[in-house]
């Protein structure tokens, strides 16, 4: 039997519908007298009015099945509700046609077009990547955002989260990255999978319009779960998005950038289910398995030996009360390969993007920059700027105590470096796409405010070539 015949045989069988609903609790429906249900099995819950909602089996045993209903249980009653166990896990239909399409949080078309003609139907939970088959990420992705490309460089196959706070400009940054991101120096195809999780309608419209108007929609796939969509749907949104990303990357050989915003809403949904299941709560009420659960999402990034494509992840999370020790950023930081932290102070000063580089880091940057990738002086000039900006912050703190008059001449120069760093390097308009050469040139301009003898992290040969100061 061929693959498609087997799929047809499995699909034709369907499943049994049960009408004994024991209890409805929060997002969960407990079905009685169930035989042969499987963990994670897809369930169609049919209301008295014939409306169908999707769910999945969370637990089975003692003739009962606990079903998590993605679209919420509002309007369901114990009598008159039927649960049909479909006999398969939730699958996403995928093909090249998904590019340029807009889907809802469960992967259903939201753009008025028909369901894509599927090339394959893939289990949304994905298959774990064989660690032995993973290839170390080392190829540069240009985002066109100076602070990221210059100092927190993203590489193909990396997972690099953005830690933001409520009301900050992370969504603008996410949309800018989605519009501008590109792989340079290769003809390989590039795609963006954008999953908006629990965002406001206006934000979702902004993402969509922004990609449409820049012409980037044709290489993008959008999944939009809105704030007024059922919270439980948010559990599925990142998974369908990653399923599509893996297909584009490993079946079609594309380099795929996945942007997931906002993962805090995902974790909130997870907490809601955990509370409904009466599980023992962990820190701040999140389930004890939050780390494991987040890793099932974040670990779906990477490159595989012998496969052309890659999946790169930029999950965005807003830290409640800007608290970086909150369980969500804390556990995310354990799994991912660095972080981009947005700073409230910079945001208040009107700096965009307000990236606090002193708290940010890309652990894989060193392998994605330098000769052959970006430019030979990239690493050194980045370190020099990091050093100079860090000193500028110290001098600013000192000036706050002793006043500017108490500073030495070199201290004042460092203060100037801090200002020019924020005004010319960090600040960028939302439609300004800087290439890596432009970015490095600004980095040199910033440190060229200092005398040559202060630049201890760059080689003389680079100094001769790129230093723009008069000293």
């Amino acid at each position: 039997m061929s693959g498609s015949e087997a799929a047809a045989a499995a699909a034709s069988k369907g499943g049994v519908q049960y009408s004994k609903i024991a209890e409805i609790k929060g997002p969960l429906v407990i079905v009685d007298d169930v035989e042969n249900a499987a963990f994670d099995e897809l369930v169609e819950v049919e209301t008295r009015d014939g409306e169908k909602r999707l769910g999945k089996v969370l637990e089975v045993g003692n003739g009962k099945a606990i079903v998590q209903v993605f679209e919420g249980t509002t309007g369901l009653s114990v009598s008159g509700t039927n649960a049909k166990f479909v006999g398969k896990v939730m699958e996403m239909p995928v093909s090249r046609e998904v590019l340029g399409r807009v889907f809802d949080g469960l992967g259903r078309p939201k753009d008025g077009l028909p369901d894509p003609i599927a090339d394959r139907f893939i289990d949304i939970n994905g298959e774990p990547m064989n660690p032995e088959q993973r290839e170390y990420p080392k190829d540069f992705i240009q985002t066109g955002v100076s602070v990221i490309d210059g100092m927190i460089t993203l590489v193909r196959g990396q997972k690099l989260p953005i830690f933001s706070g409520s009301g900050m400009s992370h969504n603008l940054l996410a949309a800018q990255i989605a519009r501008q991101a590109a792989v340079v120096g290769t003809d390989d195809e590039f795609a963006v999978v954008f999953a908006a999780i629990g965002v406001q309608y206006s934000e979702a419209e902004y993402f969509k319009r922004s990609l449409e108007e820049s012409g980037a929609l044709k290489r993008s796939v959008l999944f939009l779960n809105l704030a007024d969509d059922p919270a439980i749907e948010r559990i599925i949104t990142p998974r369908v998005a990653l399923t599509v990303a893996e297909y584009l990357a490993f079946d079609l050989g594309m380099h795929v950038l996945v942007i997931l915003t906002d993962m805090t809403n995902y974790a909130e949904a997870l907490r809601e289910i955990s509370a409904a299941r009466e599980e023992v709560p962990g820190r701040k009420g999140y389930p004890g398995y939050l780390y494991t659960d987040l890793s099932t999402i974040y670990e779906r990034a990477g490159k595989l030996v012998g496969k052309k494509g890659s999946v790169t992840q930029v999950p965005i999370l807003s830290m409640p009360s800007d608290d970086i020790t909150h369980p969500i950023p804390d556990l995310t930081g354990y799994i991912t390969e660095g972080q981009i932290v947005l700073g409230r102070d910079l945001f208040r000063q009107g700096v965009y993007p307000p990236v606090n580089i002193l708290m940010s880091l890309s652990r894989l940057m060193k392998d994605g920059i330098g000769e052959g990738s970006t430019r030979e002086d990239h690493g050194e000039i980045s370190n020099q700027n990091y050093d100079a900006y860090s000193r500028a912050q110290e001098v600013r703190a000192l000036a706050g105590i002793v006043g500017k008059a108490g500073l030495t001449e070199i201290d004042l120069k460092y203060m100037g470096v801090g200002d020019i760093f924020e005004k010319e390097f960090l600040s960028q308009s939302i439609d300004e796409n800087r290439n890596v050469e432009e970015t490095l040139s600004i980095l040199w301009k910033v440190v060229s405010q200092l005398p040559k003898n202060e630049l201890t992290k760059v080689k003389d040969k680079y100094m001769d070539q790129y230093y723009q100061g008069t000293d």
Binding site: A8, K13, V16, E97, G100, A118, E213, S214, L217, K218
Partner: protein, 204 residues
């Protein structure tokens, strides 16, 4: 001293002042011309730089607009293709369903099909102690199969609105399995769509 003496002296002084002023003006003009020329020379590289920046920005903007136009045009074309394909697939589907509905129900093949659909449904529920629902056209055939093969099963009094096949339900009404042709086609629809689309040369 004649009366013309002071006049001549005054004229001389005036001439001198005029000459001096003239010289000052000329020297000022020369220096201004020199400064202007110098300023112009100095401005040329900055102007050239500015000119190049404007040209580069213009190219970037043109490139952006071109990508935008081409991108949305590509998408528009693709979306129209998708809609046209969907219309064609739907057309084939409707036609196929009409043919299925009008299929000959008196042959041995159809009886075998009903028998196998019933057997499959009973095996999924795990019991033959069931109520069987069938369409008005299939009721006689189903009744025949039930009498011969499934003693515990009974045929529901109300006919089922479907093209063919059976829907069975446990006698307490707790479990139902839908094995009608309509339900099977619905379950297989994504795969059938793919098959039809490939006939039109679409899909991977």
């Amino acid at each position: 001293m004649t009366a013309s003496g002071p006049v001549a002296q005054l004229e001389q002084t005036i001439d001198k002042i005029i000459r001096q002023t003239e010289e000052e003006i000329l020297s000022g003009m020369e220096s201004a011309a020199g400064q202007s020329s110098q300023a112009l020379d100095d401005a040329i590289p900055a102007l050239e730089q500015e000119y190049e920046k404007i040209i580069a920005d213009g190219r970037k903007e043109a490139d952006k607009i071109s990508r935008q136009i081409v991108g949305s045009a590509d998408l528009e074309v693709r979306n129209r293709q998708l809609l046209a394909l969907e219309d064609a697939v739907d057309g084939v589907f409707v036609r196929a369903l009409e043919e299925v509905a009008a299929a000959d129900r008196n042959g041995a093949d159809y009886a075998a099909l009903m028998r196998s659909l019933l057997a499959e449904a009973v095996s999924v529920l795990g019991s033959s102690d069931v109520v069987v629902h069938a369409s008005a056209q299939d009721r006689d055939a189903v009744q025949g199969i039930l009498s011969s093969d499934y003693a515990g099963a009974e045929l529901a009094p109300e006919p089922l609105g479907c093209m063919g096949g059976v829907r069975i339900q446990s006698k307490d009404g707790a479990m139902t399995f839908d094995n009608t042709l309509d339900a099977r086609i619905e379950r297989l629809k994504p795969l059938i769509r793919k098959g039809i689309a490939s006939k039109f040369g679409a899909g991977n």
